[in-house]
Point group: C2
Chain length 342, copies 2
Amino acid sequence: MLLSAEGLREIAERALSAQRVAPSHARIQADLLIEAELRGLPSHGLQRLPRLVARLKAGLAHPMTSGSAHWSRHGVLSVDGERGLGPVVVMRAMEQLAAQVPQQGIALAAIRNANHIGMLAYYAEAATARGYIAIVLSTSEALVHPYGGIEAMLGTNPIAIGIPTEADPFILDLATSRVSMGKIHHHALTGNPIPDDWAVDAHGCRTTDPEAAKTGAIAPFGEAKGYGLGLGVELLVAALAGSTFAPEVRGTLDAVDVANKGDVLILVDPASGSGTAAGLAAYLDRLRASRPADPDRPVAVPGDGMRARRARALSTGIDLPDSLHDEIRALARVAEREKETK
Amino acid sequence: MLLSAEGLREIAERALSAQRVAPSHARIQADLLIEAELRGLPSHGLQRLPRLVARLKAGLAHPMTSGSAHWSRHGVLSVDGERGLGPVVVMRAMEQLAAQVPQQGIALAAIRNANHIGMLAYYAEAATARGYIAIVLSTSEALVHPYGGIEAMLGTNPIAIGIPTEADPFILDLATSRVSMGKIHHHALTGNPIPDDWAVDAHGCRTTDPEAAKTGAIAPFGEAKGYGLGLGVELLVAALAGSTFAPEVRGTLDAVDVANKGDVLILVDPASGSGTAAGLAAYLDRLRASRPADPDRPVAVPGDGMRARRARALSTGIDLPDSLHDEIRALARVAEREKETK
């Protein structure tokens, strides 16, 4: 079913408000979910909303807090998320960093005890909209095996980089796993086999069966190098946020445990450097104009596809499964009923 | 020929001194080259020395400067390398960052106009030896094609991450290219074909001929994700250091042009975060003990292999080609002759 972003946003906000989420917080959380849908990333979109509501009901997510923070050094903000909604805590930390970065040039927020922060591109974009460079790191449950290993020991540990240019910002957002577990679940649902280099089963054997992969571990992307980067994220976040290592991480995929992964946000003021926004934009255009391997598929810059999908979905609507639409509308109606009984 | 690290270090220092390189600078530059040899990275080792000497002779590398720097913000050091030797300029910048990091928590040096900085692991290790976390980025000549492209538009754009732990530090050092151009040259020298996913020829066609690959472009590692990271490094360094983009970069592989790539060094004080060095070391040990895919090849942590090779080479010696040994001894003898004639 094709639905407008505005209509879905309103439903999501009402569903969150029904759980006593502060209006400004509901707006940020709903915006993140809608922006993921618009970019064709449904695994980080509205399908997360029912679980989020369940977490709010269970007291695992706090509806009002945006975390408490203190500057442990002039350039380092130490954030206790206080079980707040992930995007609420990160956007609050970004505001605080943004206030320091014109003087500091660079500042870092180390965040623990916040709920799932979702699609990292959201924060990279928000930083570039303010004119800043951003690097965002996050950890997760153990889903990825080491290069040369077969046990799930690492999170999917995404990295995002946002850099303002004179034209569109550069927005990179990637998990350090070969694929997302969401994609494997999607193959399981549709009954399609997976390529044999995506995952191992519970016995550590390569598998093309998505059901078997769900109980095993996903490969790191890019072999030894991708493993190294994913591990680098695991260690950087744990060292700075004091968060838990993947094998003990809980609470981003369930409605049972407190979220104990960590998040790191670094902002840099490009005005403290010597490059120019015009130079960056011109280079990216040269890259797009460089010779493609397939004449019908021009060279793309990370973020190009995402922007195109977003523009399309804004005009044609978001393609949401009917069952999910019904489910979130039901969650939103709770709010209406409460209003009516007042 | 197996040669002791100490003997080779002395030869390298003398060869640099013969070009009027300041003694402390010669020590740093020689140490970098020897440490690369010890780690089994000859492409970044003594084979760079003759070209470095040629660059000093040609005035493309300045023998005395360690660059001039100013703090453009409290946490950002803007460095003009003044054509200095790469490791000399970076180590001087690291000293300056290290003096600020206890107060700032995080600080960044953006370096332009320095010569080739060589093996990035060197700086990551030096930072962890001081107790700091380091992220090091560097750019290079255009050698890598975009994902979906066939023209060399990006540098090999390496990333290094160093994180102190209670045991050995975590040291990651990787190029964002599929392989190094040095490895392709090595295949060309030994007459061995290369795998067909390493590079394209000058016409943009995949090739197994290393000679053809030398005139083409190397693939990025890890497909679209590795391309995205390599491009992220290209843009971050250019934005901050104001250095040139890959297609116009010169001076790290030749003895003709000024080096106009850029380098970025970020130091973070782990004491500004909430993690513990003991926790990091314990997690890395769990990773090493996790089930391997091949029972005979235990899971490794980035840096493990490098440390093992270094220990072995320190005891057995460095295996240097005779011709290279002769060449650098000749460069070193210039210094002796000059001393004798004084």
